[in-house]
C-alpha cells in the first residue's frame, strides 16, 4: 500500500453546506423533490427535473452498483479508477472505486460507500461490497 492520496478539501457554499456537515457525521445525503418524487445528485435547491423548490435532504444507503468505470493507468498522483455508481435510491454519481483490484471490477458490481479524509469535510468514495 502506498502513501494515502491527498484529496482536495471541499470549499462548500450555502446551498451545499448541509451535505458537507452531514459528511462529517458519516452521512451521505442526496436531495429528493417532494413535488415530482425524483431524487437527484449533486444536490440542488431547485429540482432539475420539475423545477420545484420543494427539495429535501435524504440520507442515502450508500449502496449501489457500478454503471461504468475506467482504470486510469497513469497520472501525477498515480493510477485510479473513475466510475459512475448508481445508488439504490436512483441517482448515478461520479466517484472513484477505491481499495480494490482494478482488474477485477465489473459493470453491475455491487459497491458501498467509504469516506476518505481531506483537510476539511471527508469525501465520498465507493469500494466493492
Amino acid at each position: 500500500m502506498t502513501e494515502a492520496k491527498k484529496y482536495p478539501t471541499p470549499v462548500g457554499n450555502p446551498e451545499s453546506q448541509p451535505f458537507w456537515d452531514a459528511a462529517k457525521d458519516g452521512k451521505f445525503m442526496i436531495k429528493r423533490c417532494t413535488t415530482c418524487g425524483e431524487a437527484h445528485f449533486f444536490p440542488r435547491a431547485i429540482c432539475p427535473f420539475c423545477f420545484s423548490d420543494k427539495t429535501e435532504w435524504e440520507q442515502s444507503s450508500g449502496e449501489g452498483e457500478i454503471y461504468t468505470y475506467s482504470h486510469m493507468r497513469k497520472s501525477a498522483t498515480g493510477p485510479y479508477v473513475i466510475a459512475y455508481v448508481t445508488l439504490k435510491e436512483g441517482p448515478s454519481v461520479q466517484t472513484n472505486i477505491v481499495d480494490c483490484d482494478p482488474g477485477s471490477l465489473k459493470i453491475g458490481q455491487k459497491v458501498k460507500l467509504v469516506w476518505k479524509p481531506t483537510d476539511g469535510a471527508p469525501l465520498p468514495f465507493f469500494t466493492p461490497a
Partner: protein, 382 residues
C-alpha cells in the same frame, strides 16, 4: 426562418505548424486569420463580425484589439472543441439577420509549448473535482459502457485509427504519417481502459480560421462556392444522475436538427468530418447522427469502411485529430476545414471524394462522459 443557404464559407486556413515554440498564442490567431482572409481574397478591414472561443487569449476585447478589427457583431460562445461549429451556425444566423456580412472565426493555441487555459468549473466542482475526470477516462467510461451494452470491441475501435492513418500518409503536415494496423492499436499501451494510446488523438500546437459571408459576397469572390444548409447544437450532462446513459451523446439532438434543416439524410453525405478526440468519439457520433443504428457502430467502422476510396463513408481525410493535428485540444475547426476542402475538390488527390457535393462536419466539446456540447453542420457545394 431557417439559415439554409444564407451563409457561405468563403475562406479557410489551417496553420501548418504542429509545434510552435517561437510564436505567441495571439500571433497564431492572427496568422490563421490572415491565411483565411487571403484564401477568400479579402482583407481584415472587410471583417465586420468576429467569433472566438476559450482558446482566444483574454477573450473578445483583447483579440479584437490585437487583430485591429472593427466588428459590429461578436460572439464568444465557448463549448470546447465544437465551439467553432457552433460559431459557424451563429455566424449564419447573424448574417441572415443582417448583423454582419463577413465573419471571421479563429482558433489557435499552444498546448505543447505554452500554457493551456484551465477548464472552468461549475456548481459540480466540490462533488467531482477530487475524482479526477480527464478526457481519457471520461471517454474511457463511455467506451466501457458501450462495450458492455452493445458488444463493441477494441478491434472495432481500432479500425477508426487505422482509417485515419491511411488518410494521414498523404498529409505532409500530419504529426503521425505512418499507416497502422488494428494490431498496432491493440498493442499500444493502455491509457485508461479500454482506450489504448492509439485510440487517443495527438496533442498539437496550431490553429485554423474561416470566413463566413453572404451569398452575394461569396459569389463575387474566386473560390468554389460552399454553403451551410443545416445546423444543429445541443448539450448533455448527468442532469442530477437520473437515467444516466453514456452510450449516446448530444449528437442525437444536434444531428437530426441539422439534417432536417438541410432537407437531407445521413445517407446522402459523400464525406464526413467527425470529431475524433478518441476512437470511441467517432463511433458514438456515427450512431448518434444516424449513419447506422445505435450499437451497430462497431460493425459500421470495421473493415476500412471509413477509408476514402475503400469504404462507404470517407471520414477525416486529412488524418483528423487521431493522426494530423488537434490544435489547442479542440477539433471542431479542422473538421470544418477538411469538409470545405473536400467540397472544393482541394483535398489530397489520393483521398479526394469524387464529385463531393454534400458533407457533414460534426463535433463534440467538453467531456463526453461528463458534460458536453455537440454541433452539426451540413455543407453543400453549389
Amino acid at each position: 426562418m431557417s439559415i439554409k443557404g444564407k451563409a457561405y464559407i468563403a475562406g479557410i486556413y489551417e496553420h501548418p505548424t504542429r509545434h510552435a515554440p517561437d510564436k505567441s498564442i495571439a500571433q497564431l490567431h492572427a496568422e490563421v486569420a490572415k491565411g483565411a482572409l487571403e484564401d477568400a481574397g479579402l482583407t481584415h478591414k472587410d471583417v465586420d463580425g468576429y467569433f472566438c472561443a476559450g482558446d482566444a487569449q483574454g477573450g473578445l476585447w483583447p483579440m479584437v484589439d490585437y487583430l485591429g478589427l472593427k466588428p459590429r457583431h461578436v460572439d464568444s460562445t465557448e463549448t470546447g472543441g465544437c465551439s467553432y461549429i457552433i460559431h459557424l451556425g451563429h455566424a449564419a444566423q447573424a448574417i441572415a439577420a443582417g448583423k454582419c456580412s463577413i465573419a471571421l472565426v479563429t482558433l489557435a493555441g499552444k498546448p505543447r509549448t505554452g500554457v493551456m487555459p484551465p477548464r472552468l468549473q461549475g456548481a459540480e466542482a466540490d462533488f467531482e473535482t477530487a475524482y479526477g475526470a480527464t478526457t481519457h477516462n471520461a471517454y474511457g467510461m463511455c467506451a466501457m459502457r458501450h462495450m458492455h451494452d452493445y458488444g463493441t470491441t477494441s478491434e472495432q475501435l481500432a479500425w477508426i485509427k487505422v482509417a485515419a492513418s491511411h488518410h494521414a500518409q498523404y498529409n505532409p503536415h500530419a504529426m503521425l504519417k505512418d499507416v497502422v494496423t488494428v494490431e498496432d492499436v491493440l498493442n499500444s499501451p493502455m491509457i485508461s481502459d479500454p482506450l489504448h494510446r492509439m485510440d487517443c488523438c495527438v496533442v498539437s500546437d496550431g490553429g485554423g480560421a474561416m470566413i463566413v459571408t453572404t451569398p452575394e459576397i461569396a459569389k463575387s469572390l474566386k473560390k468554389p462556392l460552399v454553403r451551410l444548409i443545416g445546423h444543429g447544437e445541443a448539450m448533455k450532462g448527468p442532469r442530477g444522475g437520473k437515467d444516466l446513459d453514456l452510450t449516446y451523446s448530444a449528437g442525437v439532438w444536434s444531428g437530426p436538427r441539422a439534417f432536417e434543416e438541410a432537407g437531407v439524410t445521413p445517407q446522402d453525405m459523400k464525406y464526413a468530418s467527425i470529431y475524433d478526440s478518441f476512437t470511441i468519439t467517432v463511433l458514438m457520433q456515427l450512431e448518434d447522427l444516424g449513419f447506422c443504428k445505435k450499437g451497430d457502430g462497431g460493425k459500421f467502422v470495421s473493415d476500412g469502411n471509413l477509408i476514402s476510396g475503400v469504404g462507404k463513408l470517407p471520414f477525416n481525410t486529412d488524418g483528423g485529430g487521431l493522426c494530423s493535428n488537434h490544435p489547442v485540444n479542440r477539433g471542431g475547426m479542422t473538421k470544418i476545414l477538411e469538409a470545405v476542402r473536400q467540397l472544393r475538390g482541394e483535398a489530397h488527390p489520393k483521398v479526394q471524394v469524387p464529385n463531393c457535393d454534400l458533407a457533414i462536419a460534426h463535433g463534440t466539446g467538453g467531456l463526453l462522459g461528463v458534460r458536453h456540447a455537440a454541433s452539426t453542420a451540413i455543407l453543400e457545394r453549389v
